[in-house]
Amino acid sequence: MIACKDAVRQLWEYLDGTVGEADRAALEEHLDRCRRCCAELEFAEELRGFLAGNADDDVPPDVMKRLNTTLEELSADDT
């Protein structure tokens, strides 16, 4: 069975589905027997959600105004 350090190294890739077949089988065998690495896997999933959940931003009104001005000033001659 692979060691915890080798399992932990691949958890994000496992969630991405980019681990090769043999590595995935070895990792799943490890996860079947190691509660701590299962908990790490759950935390890796949380972290992925955490990143995705912090993707939005409010555009400050003055920035939005300047960007809209740029758009309004575009003319057919610029293409």
Partner: protein, 198 residues
């Protein structure tokens, strides 16, 4: 009779571009803030002008939002290319050994918490996350931000940045580990680990 591609009149092109870009401004700005920090507005301005110049090359209107985002990513990337600062050295051996999950469990910053790890993440606001991302070198930050926050595929990113897929995957791996490490560092430096009095 063979189908003929109907060229839009220039005025229509301007309006079509404005409509597309206006709808995408919040997303473009959000991406730029995470890739370019304080240069975000300038990067979006660059991207709008460059995209408009090439708008006639966009054949599929449904692909407009993704196309616009790609133009922006290139603008952000170009800005970093001109940045001659040397990135801080990273101890990759230590990085490979680092696990945020275990660090939190070991240090136990909130001894009375029933959900220690979630409470740790819950301490970060949107601006904190952005600040942590900006602590990462650009070539690790870009894949992390684009893949995990804005849904870019790794193959798409490889083509966009003109680097091999294996390089994107390696940078993504290191970017995630660095992000975990920097989350902890940031929490320590900003006093987030000091538990509020009960």
């Amino acid at each position: 009779m063979p189908e003929q591609k109907v060229e839009a009149a220039p005025e229509d092109q301007v309006e079509s571009f404005q409509r597309l870009a206006r709808a995408q401004l919040p997303r473009l700005y959000a991406i730029a803030r995470r890739l370019c920090g304080d240069d975000a507005e300038d990067a979006v301005q660059d991207a709008l002008l460059k995209a408009f110049e090439r708008f006639d090359q966009l054949d599929d209107p449904d692909a407009g939002p993704a196309w616009l985002a790609r133009v922006l990513v290139n603008c952000c990337h170009d800005r970093h290319r001109h940045d001659a600062r040397q990135p801080a050295e990273i101890d990759f051996e230590a990085l490979e050994r680092f696990s945020l999950y275990r660090k939190i469990a070991l240090e136990d910053p909130f001894p009375y918490s029933d959900s220690l790890h979630l409470d740790f993440l819950g301490g970060f606001g949107r601006e904190d996350v952005r600040a942590v991302l900006l602590m990462l070198p650009e070539h690790y930050r870009t894949p992390l931000v684009l893949v995990h926050m804005y849904g870019f595929a790794t193959k798409e990113l490889a083509s966009l940045l003109d680097i091999p897929l294996g390089t994107v995957l390696a940078r993504l791996h290191r970017g995630r580990k660095l992000f975990e490490q920097r989350l902890w560092d940031y929490a320590e430096q900003t006093g987030m680990l000091e538990e509020a009095p009960r």
